[in-house]
C-alpha cells in the first residue's frame, strides 16, 4: 500500500512505497509494520500519550470527527492522531479517513514549510477539530430544540442528551490535548525551534478549550427548560381534550331537565324540540367562543 510522502523540493505529495525516515509521511497503522523503532515509539506513546527521547518526540492527540448514528443522527466521534517528530521527519499516523481529510484540508498547500511549522499546523488541526465539531453539534442542538416545539415523545430529548454528552467529551478531549502539549513543552528545551510553536499551540488550545467549555456549560444548564417544553406539549393536548369533553357534556347537562317525567313547561308548544336544541347548542356555542378567546383550544 502506498504511503503519501510530501516531497518538499517538488512541493507536492507523492506516493511512497516505503517509509524511509526523512520528510513528511502520512501513515496508517498497517504501514509502520517492519519499522521496529517507530513501532516501539508508537507503542510507548499509546500508554503514555507522549514519549520524548533526545530530539525525538511522539504525541498521541485526540481528534474530533462527526459521524452519522442510526439512532441519534449526527454525533461526535473521538479518534487519535499520533505524531512522531524528529529533526528530519514528521510522521502522521492515524486512520485512513482522517489522513485523507488532513491531506486535503490542511496539508494541501504546504510549499516549503519547515517541519516545526508543520507540526504546529497538525497540532492546531487537532485543536480546531473540536471547535468545528462543537459548532455542528450546537447547530444540531438548536434544530432539535425547535423540533421540541411539537414533540410529544422523548426522541428529541434523548438526542439532546447525547449531543450534550458529546460536547462534554469534546471538552475532556481538549483538556487532554492541553495536558499533552504542556508536557511536550516541558520536555522541549527553551532554545529549540519548536518551543515557540508549541507554546503558541498551547495558548490556542486554552482559548478553544475556554470557548467549547463555555458553550457546553451554557447549553447544559438549559436542558431542564427542554423537559418543561415537552411536558407543556403533553399538557396542551390534555387541555384541549378536556375542553372538548366539557363542550360535549354541556348540551347533555342543559337538556337533562327536559328528560324528567314531570309536567314540563311549554310541553304543548309545537316547536319545543327545535327550541330546546337551539337553546342547548346556543349555550354551548357561547361557551366555546369564550373558551377560544381565552386560549383553551390553542395547541
Amino acid at each position: 500500500m502506498d504511503c503519501p510522502f510530501y516531497d518538499s523540493h517538488a512541493a507536492a505529495w507523492v506516493p511512497g512505497k516505503h517509509y524511509t525516515g526523512e520528510g513528511l509521511f502520512l501513515l496508517n497503522p498497517e504501514q509502520i509494520q517492519g519499522y521496529p523503532a517507530l513501532e516501539a515509539a508508537l507503542r510507548r506513546c499509546e500508554d503514555q500519550r507522549l514519549y520524548c527521547e533526545k530530539e525525538e518526540m511522539t504525541l498521541r492527540l485526540p481528534v474530533a470527527l462527526l459521524e452519522e448514528d442510526d439512532r441519534f443522527g449526527t454525533v461526535a466521534r473521538m479518534t487519535h492522531l499520533t505524531l512522531h517528530h524528529t529533526p528530519q521527519s514528521l510522521i502522521i499516523l492515524g486512520e485512513e479517513a482522517l489522513l485523507k481529510t488532513l491531506q486535503q484540508d490542511w496539508l494541501g498547500t504546504l510549499g516549503q514549510i519547515p517541519l516545526g511549522e508543520l507540526l504546529q499546523r497538525i497540532l492546531l488541526n487537532s485543536i480546531y477539530s473540536h471547535e468545528r465539531v462543537a459548532r455542528v453539534l450546537v447547530e444540531r442542538l438548536q434544530e432539535l430544540r425547535m423540533a421540541l416545539k411539537t414533540a410529544m415523545g422523548n426522541v428529541e430529548l434523548r438526542q439532546i442528551v447525547v449531543l450534550n454528552r458529546d460536547l462534554g467529551e469534546l471538552v475532556i478531549a481538549l483538556r487532554e490535548t492541553g495536558l499533552i502539549l504542556r508536557d511536550t513543552l516541558r520536555a522541549t528545551p527553551g532554545e529549540a525551534a519548536a518551543y515557540p510553536l508549541l507554546d503558541a499551540a498551547l495558548r490556542e488550545q486554552r482559548r478553544i478549550e475556554d470557548g467549547v467549555n463555555l458553550v457546553y456549560e451554557r447549553y447544559l444548564t438549559v436542558t431542564n427548560a427542554y423537559n418543561g417544553i415537552i411536558q407543556n406539549n403533553a399538557h396542551t393536548v390534555m387541555k384541549v381534550m378536556t375542553v372538548w369533553l366539557a363542550l360535549l357534556m354541556m348540551p347533555i347537562a342543559f337538556i337533562m331537565p327536559f328528560h324528567m317525567m314531570t309536567v314540563l313547561p311549554l310541553e304543548h308548544w309545537h316547536y319545543l324540540w327545535f327550541g330546546l336544541l337551539a337553546y342547548v347548542f346556543g349555550v354551548t356555542l357561547i361557551f366555546a367562543i369564550w373558551a377560544r378567546k381565552h386560549g383553551f383550544f390553542a395547541m
Binding site: 498547500t109 418543561g228 399538557h235 378536556t242 347533555i252 314531570t262 390553542a298
Partner: protein
Amino acid sequence: MMRIIRDCLLSGNANRRSWMALVNPSALELTQAAMTLDIPESFLRKRLEGEASRPIIKQERLISLQFQVPIPEDGRIGQFLLVPLSVYFVPGYFVTLAEQEIPFLSTLIDPQKPRKRWELVLRIIAEVTRLYLPTARAVAREMAMVERDLRQAQRHDVVYRGLDIHDRLLALDLGLLQLEYVVSEIGYFLPTEDKDLLEIHDDTRIELSQVRDQVDSDQETINELLESYAYVVHNNVNHLFKFMAALIILVTIPLFIPGAAAMNVPLGPLPHWRYGFAAVTGGLIVVEILTAWIFYRKGWLRLE
C-alpha cells in the same frame, strides 16, 4: 470597498503609516490589496471566510489580529450582528478588514492626531468593549418583556424567547472571550518601557473583564430563570385544567338530579304534580350555585 488614507498613524519608530480600510472587498480589491501590501491573498481571504484560525498571528512581515464587533441591527432592540474585524500591521500600512463598515474607526484613526500603532489597537479594542456592554444590556432587557408575557402564557413560546436571549448572550460572551484572549496576547508585543501604553492595556483588560462579568451574570440569570419560565407556563395550563375540571363537575350535576326524575319506574306523585319541574330544576339550580360558590371560594373557578 478599498480606501487608503495616508499618514494616519505612527509605527514603533514613529514613522508615519497609511491606513488601508477594506470593507466587504470584491475579489479584485482583495487581489489589489494583497499586491499593495505584498502579502499572500489567502491571508486576507481566510479571515473573511471565517475559518477557524488563531485570532493573533505573528509572522515575519506582519502581525494580524481578529475579533468580533457587535453591530446593533437598525430598529431591532437587542438584535445585533457580530462582525469579524481583522487588523493587520504590514510594513508601511495599517489594514482593517471587515464585511461591513465599523463606525468608530474613522473617528479613532485621525491623520491630524496620529496615534502609535499599539495604542490605536488598544483604543479600538476599548471601543469594541464599550459596544458589547449596551448590546448585552439591550438583550438582557428583553427578559423583562418575556416576564411580562409570562403571566398569561400557556404555550412555551416564552421559553423559546428566553432560549433565544440565552443564545445571543452566549454569542456575546464568546466574542468577549476572544477579545480577552487578543488583549492578553497583545501584552507580549507591547514595549515594556512605554508606561502609558501599559496603563492603557491594563485599563482595557479591566474594562473587558468587567463587561464579561456583566454578560456572564446576565446569562446565568437567564439560565436559572428558564426553568422557572417553563414551570410558570405549566402552572398557567394547570390553572385551565383546574377550571375545566370544576366546570365538568358542575355540568355533571344535572346528569344525576334530573336523571333521578327521569327513570322509567313509577315516580309517585311527581309526574302529575304541577310544580314538579320547577321544584327539581330549582333544587338543581340551588345545588349548582352552592357548588359553584364553594369552587369559587377555593379558587377553582378562577382563571387568574
